[in-house]
């Protein structure tokens, strides 16, 4: 089978196995993607029957849209903060629940469960927490930090978003880290213990380097999800207060579906795609080089 002589036969076999998936992939990813790029060269409100060609005008509009670049910069800050916190918290949680403490399976489930709640619902739950729960606690104990709703203040609303994101994804990344921790060979750790290496040194010099493949995955996932965030942004702050927490995706959505400027919206979406693709490719490339073998 493997050494096919006949090319037609070989292609036939390949099509048999990859064809259906390929077809679905083309239909739902490639075609919309290319059509999206095609749309960036036209001016369209989504309804009108005429769709005039405008060349690169939409891209020019993107570069002149200061609000878009503000939202991209805000997204980058948000991604930086949330990627760092998600991975730190997730790793600590994973480390804790693999130490063999009592009821660790329960904790694993508990930490993972926020991820089972959809972003929208989660946003609304936390909106209530920030607006009502925290403020009443702040009132009761006179804590300055919680005296006013976090969502009414530009800086705190940003951190509220980061906090909720970390809460949502830390458990998910924890599961990946647990798998990584489990696959660290026990024999070398045992050997290190016999040689008198402390737990801390084992963690820094042995466990962490061996966990790089897990970090590649978790950083990639949290980067990509951070850049594309919409649901939590929408449900928790709605871009407010005063439009200060409009992330890039929300800006693109508003451009296309509130302003009905599909061309510019698509162009901005493409620019955003380009940024995310560049950042994640660079990240994967750089972290791949840090991989070691036991």
């Amino acid at each position: 089978m493997i050494s096919e002589k006949n090319t037609v036969k070989r292609i036939g076999n390949q099509l048999l196995f990859t064809g259906p998936t390929l077809l679905a992939f083309i239909a739902v990813i490639i075609v919309p993607f290319i059509y999206g790029i095609y749309m960036t060269f036209f001016k369209w409100d989504g309804i009108s029957s005429s769709m005039p060609y405008v060349g690169f005008n939409n891209y020019e509009a993107v570069f002149n849209d200061t609000k878009f670049w503000t939202s991209v910069w805000l997204t980058i800050k948000y991604v930086a903060a949330s990627v760092f916190l998600i991975n730190t918290v997730a790793f600590l949680l994973a480390y804790l629940v693999t130490m063999g403490i009592r009821g660790q399976n329960f904790f694993r489930t508990a930490f993972f469960s926020p991820n089972l709640i959809g972003g929208l619902v989660l946003g609304f739950i936390w909106q209530f927490m920030f607006n009502n729960f925290f403020t009443s606690i702040g009132e009761k104990f006179g804590w300055e930090l919680f005296s006013k709703t976090w969502l009414g203040n530009e800086t705190m609303a940003f951190w509220a978003l980061v906090l909720v994101t970390v809460w949502q994804y830390a458990g998910y990344m924890m599961v990946i880290f647990i798998a990584g921790l489990m696959s660290v060979p026990k024999d070398i750790l045992e050997a290190a213990t016999i040689d008198g290496t402390s737990g801390w040194k084992q963690l820094i010099h042995m466990v962490l380097p061996l966990m790089v493949p897990s970090f590649i995955v978790t950083i990639f996932l949290s980067l990509q999800r951070g850049f594309m965030v919409y649901d939590v942004n929408y449900a928790l702050t709605g871009g407010g207060p005063f439009g200060s927490t409009v992330m890039a995706s929300m800006h693109v959505y508003d451009k296309a579906f509130q302003r009905f400027d599909y061309g510019v919206g698509q162009a901005e979406a493409f620019v955003l795609f380009f940024i995310v693709a560049t950042v994640t490719i660079v990240q994967v490339y750089l972290t791949k080089r840090m991989e070691v073998e036991a």
Partner: protein, 441 residues
């Protein structure tokens, strides 16, 4: 083996071809639907069955609308009416354009007034309809009546009658509040009486598309469209615009007496409404749609409207007028719908305007203020009655939110929130408004 794989290849190719062709076949069957329907019912020679769909964008009246459709179908057995409603947070345009994109537009689509223009080339010209003569205000786009005004709505300062009667020591007359200083005196009196004078809801749609829009509608020497053209062209100078400054003077007064001024962004729709309904606060800024929410907290309450003053001159028209407009409009699709469907849709609109059951539905089920002079049913709820009085007396300015782009409420609503929370000053706000309008093509 060779045979098998080439067979598979053929199969897959066939699959690809049929998948590509499937779309066309679908379209064709859609286009034929009308003809199919007529051949099916051809045996039943008297009445051809027509099926029309209504896209309802007032999601809160979905049940009532479905019931009305049933009542209508009972009176017209050959017409089947299906009602589709948008979700609470879904933009009606999004839904309508999705229906167009899938080749199955609604025969009758209800949209926000400002969006009808986008569908102008798809809408059936209704200028020849009988009800056009009954309109309280003309409803034309480029000289043609393209849409049926479904609901008239208005907004201003909503007050609790009981509270203000008590403060005024007799029946309170909203016409006495026709300047900013008169409003301030009133607010002082309420405060002296130990009540919270008012709550300003911090909702961006309310501040942006309703409050700020008064500045567009109350311009003394131009109408809304004219002023918006000036803003787009960059020739409107807000810093030196008396109406804009006057409106913000009023806003400053409102801010001063705002019950939530310590944390103004925390005042939401439900909270401001509940405070007025229970009488713990006297006034809030909102529209006649608030009645449902008000009645939830206090089914016995009576409410009225005070206009938002924009100057200290009692003669200024806007000082004694509330903003009123037909905010929900329905148009008949002229692209995919058959003539029979269009005729049936027209019949439904006539039913709403002229038949008792239709009028009952509009006024008592859907609780809207109809745009037609011939409907004399007593309106439901004190706010609707108040708006209707202002409307019939000619004391109205335009509902300028009907003429602004779809993201106006969000972008300039955010700017108004900044001003509400003292994050920006008047000139900063003016600059943001001017920048926004210059970005609109």
């Amino acid at each position: 083996m060779k045979k098998l794989s080439s067979l598979m290849l053929v199969l897959i190719l066939a699959l690809v071809v049929s998948a590509c062709g499937g779309n066309n076949a679908n379209n064709a069957s859609n286009a034929n639907e009308g003809t199919n329907a007529s051949t099916n019912t051809g045996s039943d020679s008297d009445a051809k069955e027509v099926k029309i769909t209504i896209l309802n964008s007032k999601s809160e009246i979905h049940t009532q609308m479905t019931n009305a459709a049933e009542t209508f179908s009972k009176a017209h057995p050959n017409i089947k009416v299906e009602v589709i409603s948008t979700n609470q947070d879904q933009s009606p345009v999004e839904k309508a354009s999705a229906l167009y994109a899938s080749g199955t537009p609604a025969t009758l689509a209800m949209l926000d007034a400002g969006d009808i223009e986008k569908f102008a080339d798809k809408a059936l010209d209704l200028s020849g309809e009988k009800w056009v003569a009954e309109l309280a205000q003309p409803n034309e786009i480029n000289g043609k009546t393209l849409a049926f005004p479904f609901a008239v709505e208005g907004y201003g300062l909503i007050y609790n009658k009981e509270v203000l009667d008590e403060v005024a020591g007799g029946a309170f007359d909203p016409a006495t509040i026709n300047t900013t200083s008169a409003l301030e005196e009133l607010l002082q009196k309420i405060e002296a009486a130990g009540k919270t004078p008012l709550y300003i809801g911090s909702m961006d749609w309310s501040l942006g598309n309703h409050f700020l829009a008064i500045a567009y509608a109350a311009q003394p020497d131009t109408d809304v469209k004219g002023f918006l053209e000036q803003l787009k062209g960059g020739s409107a100078d807000l810093v030196n615009n008396a109406t804009y400054q006057g409106l913000l003077d009023t806003f400053d007064v409102l801010k001063k007496y705002n019950g939530g001024k310590n944390d103004p962004m925390a005042v939401n729709y439900e909270q401001s409404t509940a405070a007025v309904a229970t009488g713990s606060a006297a006034i809030t800024f909102n529209g006649n749609w608030l009645i449902t929410e008000l009645l939830k907290s206090n089914p016995e309450g009576e409410y009225g409207f005070i206009p938002v003053p924009v100057s200290n001159d009692p003669a200024t028209k806007a000082n004694s007028a509330v903003a009123i407009g037909a905010t929900k409009q329905m148009f008949i699709d002229n692209e995919k719908s058959t003539e029979e469907q269009q005729a049936a849709a027209k019949q439904f609109l006539n039913w709403l305007v002229y038949e008792d059951a239709g009028q009952q539905f509009l006024v008592n089920e859907a609780n809207v203020i109809p745009a037609f002079k011939n409907i004399t049913l007593e309106l439901n709820g004190s706010l609707a009655v108040a708006i209707n009085e202002y409307n019939l007396a000619g004391n109205s300015i335009e509902f300028a939110g009907n003429f602004v782009p779809g993201d106006h409420w969000k972008v300039l609503g955010a700017s108004m929130q900044k001003y509400l929370a003292d994050v920006t000053d008047r000139n900063g706000l003016a600059a943001e408004i001017e920048d926004y309008w210059k970005s609109v093509q």
